[in-house]
Symmetry: C2
Subunit: 180 residues, 2 copies
């Protein structure tokens, strides 16, 4: 994980995220209101040391920001849907990007597969979803949309710091070689 035999740039950015950083991130992703003293003794550091690392993680961009996560139902946005948008030509048109201005639109991705663009939207009701879809259809080059309305959400969380080191072998599949 640490590569000390490589060149050591003096630049502040390419600093590696070590195990201690991951433990800090694991705490802060769950609860960003802990005091540095509390954070420190959860990961085994003093308050200033924890603070120093958090500052570094922010500076280097690993921590983008601290945010309040709100309950959409409490704010009248009870309808969640994923919208696949098929476009002719290049999907990322300015008109289509303009829908990102609506607070109902939470995500806009271009994807590989049979859909060009994929949107995650959260509206008050089906009527508002229809209004949003109408805006999408108005964009030139939009051929069709397919909407997947969410019935129940079983898990929804921001990016996690953890990674699964080794995946269990599936029952029915044994690869010939473990390339890479």
């Amino acid at each position: 994980m640490k590569e000390t035999d490589e060149i050591r740039p003096i630049l502040p950015s390419p600093q590696s995220v070590d195990a201690m950083d991951r433990r800090i991130l694991a705490v802060l992703v769950e609860d960003a209101t802990v005091s540095y003293a509390e954070l420190g003794n959860r990961v085994g550091l003093s308050a200033p040391a924890a603070h120093e690392r958090v500052k570094r993680l922010k500076r280097s961009g690993v921590i983008q920001r601290m945010a309040a996560l709100i309950e959409p139902n409490a704010l009248g946005k009870g309808l969640l849907a994923f919208v696949h948008v098929d476009t002719r030509g290049w999907g990322k048109t300015p008109a289509l990007m303009a829908v990102a201005g609506y607070p109902e639109v939470e995500e806009v991705h271009s994807v590989a597969g049979d859909a060009c663009m994929l949107l995650k939207v959260r509206t008050e009701n089906t009527h508002a979803l229809e209004g949003l879809l109408a805006r999408i259809y108005d964009a030139p080059g939009v051929l069709a949309t397919r909407s997947y309305v969410v019935l129940s959400t079983y898990l929804e969380r921001p990016p996690q710091p953890g990674v699964t080191a080794s995946w269990p072998m599936p029952k029915a599949l044994l690869p010939i070689e473990n390339a890479q």
Copy 2:
């Protein structure tokens, strides 16, 4: 460490979220590290008044929690994908729900449409995605999966407090009557 401001999980507060609350939320969704004094004079309140409202928003569950938002690329999770899972029978099986235990899985929804379940996953690479898909296929009742690998993300943000009051009329559609 005194706990006079304990967050009670009880939510018998039928109090509505007014315009001032929305303005507070708009600030905190963007940056949860502002001091109450700063928050106060951004929305036009004193520090204790702003504090009081934030406490109420937390108690009532409108603010679920404060969280650090991290940059997945910096943590070696550069591959984002949406996985549609077709199942026979009821999709929400314990085996399928078990994949929610992996930190790579960020969202699990059941959806209306031709897919029963929809997952948002973020892995290190395609190999790890394959490992995760193998776990999904191992769940009984899983007929097929379709994966949409994200090429570019143009927008990705947590739920926003704002709602669009009135949707612009689409060019090509004029309803006969404005019901409701």
